[in-house]
């Protein structure tokens, strides 16, 4: 059951991300990315990380992708379809991508016996029922309090920065 779900979501993710990267029209690209991110959120849920999954949908898809779409509208109005989409180095890029993926996969495959499902069950059985969101929240406000505060300062800086960057006069 879990396996089937995983493969479906994985397929969605991979297919849509490929479409994102190869689509001609930026709007289409954005929509494909949205679908890919939704697939990703599904994977998060599958991994029992409900909080992260929800945050993904709310913030990433609902916030960031919407922002992308706004900017695409602002900027790509005069986009000419017939212009080539790929830069001159695309062949090198593809080759490098394949090389990189092989290298990383090599590491994964080499360590794959560490991840056998049998070893998981050694005492890491189902915890008593706590809600994921609650636990994450508890962590955020105790151990990771400092990063949390810094993140909020970061967001403040971003807001101010975005306004400064896009003003008409400097």
């Amino acid at each position: 059951m879990e396996a089937t779900l995983f493969y479906i979501l994985a397929t969605i993710l991979v297919v849509f991300s490929i479409l994102t990267v190869t689509a001609g029209n930026p709007v289409r690209s954005a929509v494909y990315l949205v679908s890919a991110l939704l697939g990703m959120a599904g994977l998060f849920f599958l991994l029992k990380a409900e909080f992260v999954g929800a945050v993904q949908i709310l913030v990433y898809v609902g916030g960031i992708m919407v922002l992308f779409l706004f900017v695409i509208m602002l900027v790509s109005v005069r986009e000419v379809e017939s212009q080539r989409k790929a830069s001159r180095q695309w062949k090198t890029a593809v080759v490098l991508g394949i090389v990189l993926s092989f290298e990383l996969l090599f590491f994964v495959v080499r360590g794959s016996d560490v991840f056998r499902t049998e070893t998981i069950s050694q005492g890491l059985i189902e915890q008593p029922q706590t809600f994921n969101t609650e636990s994450v929240g508890a962590l955020l406000y105790s151990t990771y309090l400092l990063p949390f505060e810094i993140a909020s300062v970061l967001l403040l800086v971003v807001i101010v920065g975005a306004v400064v960057l896009t003003r008409k006069q400097l």
Partner: protein
């Protein structure tokens, strides 16, 4: 058979006397020289005798047990000297016999010297046919052969030194053969003087050897060296000094840094002289001497390193100069210096057999190249500038294909002799304990450069459009058989000789095994030295073949396909080109540092104004002092001005040009395109991950 050893050097000596004395007498009596056929029968005949005897003695040597292949023949006592005290406090007799010694090393050398020498003598019959003083040439050539054979057959250092000086003398006589050309005389003087510097070091080395070991005989000396130094010297001691001094002597004779400057000028001599003396035999004397002294060198590892580094740096320097020379003989002269550098590099990494192997293959193809160029020069009525050649293939077919084989051999094309010997050196440089991958790397680069300049020579001379001057173009024809048959013989040699020394992955190296008893290497690297096995060797061979291929292709591209490219590149890199074309201004530097001072001395000493100086002493002293101080001040000012203009400014400009050159290369990386930078980041990531993979695997 073996007791005819002494006849081998004697035959050419007799030839020298017959031709020389009879020639002088005949000229004094009748005003013209002896009949040509007489002269060359005597000259070539004597060498032929030496050759046949050498083959016979070699054959006899091979019949002996490998451990007992050492035949000594003492002819007479030369110096029955006093007893002298050595460094160890004992008494030693300075007793020198004129002795000959035949072992695998000297057997190889006499075969090379007499074999190649004979073919060159035959060739000279055709080449020198129109010269006057025909008998003088052959007399000197025979004298040279006597000296060279004495050098390689000697059984002690002093007799070897006689031969050593003797070949220097003959070199002087033969370079200056064209007495009507001032440049030839100058070149002869230069060769002799530079050689002498090396000889000075050699003498001091010999004196040190006697002082420490009490003998100069090879077998006795090396035995004592082995006793007194059972392990290699770990610091710089007397053995290292001796080795270094002997090596300086070798750099003089074999044209390495810093004493190589005489060899390109030596091309003023007739081409057979260049082939015999300055390609196949005399210049290899230094290599032979260092190889013979392997007992000493293997115990002085610091000097071995110096030998290897000087050798490979010379190879690189000379190859770079050869790339741009326009005179066909100069290219070959620098090529010789470069290949000698390879041989010394081989000696320096403890692969003496490989060095001698290369000496042998080099003798064949270099002699062939020089003789072939002589054929071209003759056909074009003494034109040597390659800019005035071109398209000669159809006029000189035999010269073309024999020189072609030699060029491919020196370039290291597989299947020919040069490939086997050069690859053996490169492999040893990489894998021997005394070797270093950096030496291998420079060696491979030089191999590529060698391929390039040799094919450049071939393409400019024989292919492409004809650029001959009009009065020459009507008379161009192939040389007579007496000149082309030796070419063919040498070409056959260039192909076959290499198969004597197959690399380890193709079979056993018969040549090395034959030479083994003659050398002592500190690690006995005659066998498989490293655990890398054959695959590394094959890989390195593949790399050097690839580089040779690139060199040949580039020569093809620049000189046959895209003929404007060289001129364009020359304009773009004109500073660098000027530097290398003018041979890095080494001659100018030596001139400034040493020669001007020497010439000034000579002029002053010969002023013949001694009487005036003595009689007008008072006036001259006082006024002289005053004027002198003024002159000195002016001179100092002028000197520093000159230094500023010529030296400092040139250096500054050169530095600026170097930076300009490099920055023009690096500027291309700053494209301003962010995506390219991202690409380079990804490349960097891949490299870093590969590094971790490499560490883990």
């Amino acid at each position: 058979m073996l007791n005819t050893l002494w006849l081998i050097p004697l035959a050419p000596l007799i030839g020298f006397f017959i031709n020389g004395l009879f020639g002088l007498w005949k000229v004094a009596r009748t005003g013209s020289g002896p009949k040509k056929s007489f002269v060359y029968c005597v000259a070539c005949g004597s060498i032929l005798i030496s050759l046949l005897l050498s083959i016979g003695c070699f054959w006899a040597l091979v019949q002996l047990d490998p451990e007992h292949r050492l035949v000594e023949q003492d002819l007479f006592t030369w110096i029955s000297g006093p007893a002298l005290r050595t460094a160890a406090g004992e008494l030693a007799n300075f007793h020198i016999t004129w002795g000959l010694q035949l072992d695998p090393l000297s057997a190889v050398m006499i075969l090379v010297v007499t074999g190649v020498g004979f073919l060159i003598h035959v060739y000279s019959v055709g080449y020198m046919a129109e010269e006057e003083g025909f008998y003088r040439f052959f007399a000197y050539m025979n004298l040279f052969m006597f000296m060279m054979l004495t050098l390689v057959l000697s059984s002690n250092y002093l007799v070897m030194f006689v031969g050593w000086e003797g070949v220097g003398l003959c070199s002087y006589l033969l370079i200056g053969y064209y007495t009507h050309k001032k440049s030839a005389g100058d070149a002869a003087k230069k060769a002799f003087v530079v050689n002498r510097i090396g000889d000075f070091a050699f003498i001091i080395g010999m004196l040190m050897m006697f002082t420490y070991f009490g003998t100069l005989d090879f077998t006795d000396l090396f035995h004592r060296v082995g006793e007194m130094f059972p392990t290699p010297e770990s610091t710089w001691g007397p053995l290292s000094w001796i080795a270094l001094l002997l090596f300086i002597g070798a750099t003089g004779k074999s044209a390495q840094i810093p004493l190589f400057v005489w060899l390109p000028d030596a091309m003023e001599g007739p081409t057979p002289v260049s082939a015999l003396i300055h390609a196949a035999t005399m210049v290899t004397a230094g290599v032979y001497m260092v190889a013979r002294s392997s007992a000493i060198y293997s115990r002085a590892p610091d000097v071995l390193l110096i030998v290897a580094v000087v050798g490979i740096c010379t190879a690189l320097l000379a190859a770079s100069i050869a790339l741009f020379q326009q005179d066909i003989k100069r290219v070959l002269a620098y090529s010789t210096v470069s290949q000698l550098g390879y041989m010394f590099a081989a000696l320096g990494v403890g692969a003496a057999a490989a060095g001698i192997f290369h000496l042998m293959t080099h003798a064949f193809f270099k002699a062939l190249l020089f003789l072939g160029s002589g054929s071209v020069i003759m056909a074009l009525h003494h034109e040597q500038d390659m800019r005035k050649m071109g398209g000669l293939r159809k006029y000189l077919p035999r010269t073309w294909w024999t020189m072609g084989i030699a060029s491919l051999a020196i370039a290291g094309v597989p299947g020919l002799s040069g490939f086997f010997s050069k690859d053996e050196i490169l492999w040893r440089a990489f894998s021997n304990p005394e070797g270093h991958a950096l030496i291998w790397l420079v060696g491979v680069l030089v191999a590529g450069m060698t391929a390039f300049y040799m094919m450049r020579l071939m393409f400019l001379t024989f292919h492409g459009e004809e650029r001959l001057s009009p009065e020459v173009a009507t008379h161009v024809h192939e040389s007579p058989n007496v000149m082309t048959v030796p070419l063919i013989a040498l070409a056959i040699g260039s192909v076959l000789v290499g198969y004597l020394g197959l690399p380890a992955w193709l079979g056993s190296n018969a040549f090395e095994h034959f030479l083994e008893p003659a050398f002592e290497t500190s690690y006995q690297s005659a066998g498989e030295p490293a655990s890398s096995g054959h695959s590394t060797e094959i890989l390195l061979t593949f790399v050097s073949i690839t580089l040779a291929g690139i060199g040949i292709f580039l020569a093809y591209y620049f000189f046959l396909k895209n003929k404007e490219k060289p001129a364009q590149l020359r304009k773009r890199f004109s500073g660098l080109h000027q530097l290398i074309y003018n041979k890095y201004y080494v001659d100018e530097a030596y001139d400034f540092l040493f020669v001007s001072g020497g010439k000034g001395w000579g002029r002053w000493l010969g002023a013949k104004n001694w009487g005036r100086y003595f009689s007008a002493f008072d006036n001259n002293v006082v006024d002289g002092a005053v004027n002198g101080s003024a002159t000195i001040t002016r001179l100092a000012a002028w000197l520093s001005g000159q230094a500023d203009i010529h030296v400092v400014d040139r250096i500054v400009n050169l530095v600026a040009e170097v930076f300009e050159f490099f920055s023009s290369v690096f500027r291309k990386l700053q494209t301003g395109l962010v995506q390219r930078y991202a690409l380079s980041i990804v490349i960097g990531i891949i490299l870093v991950i590969s590094f971790y993979l490499y560490l883990g695997v």
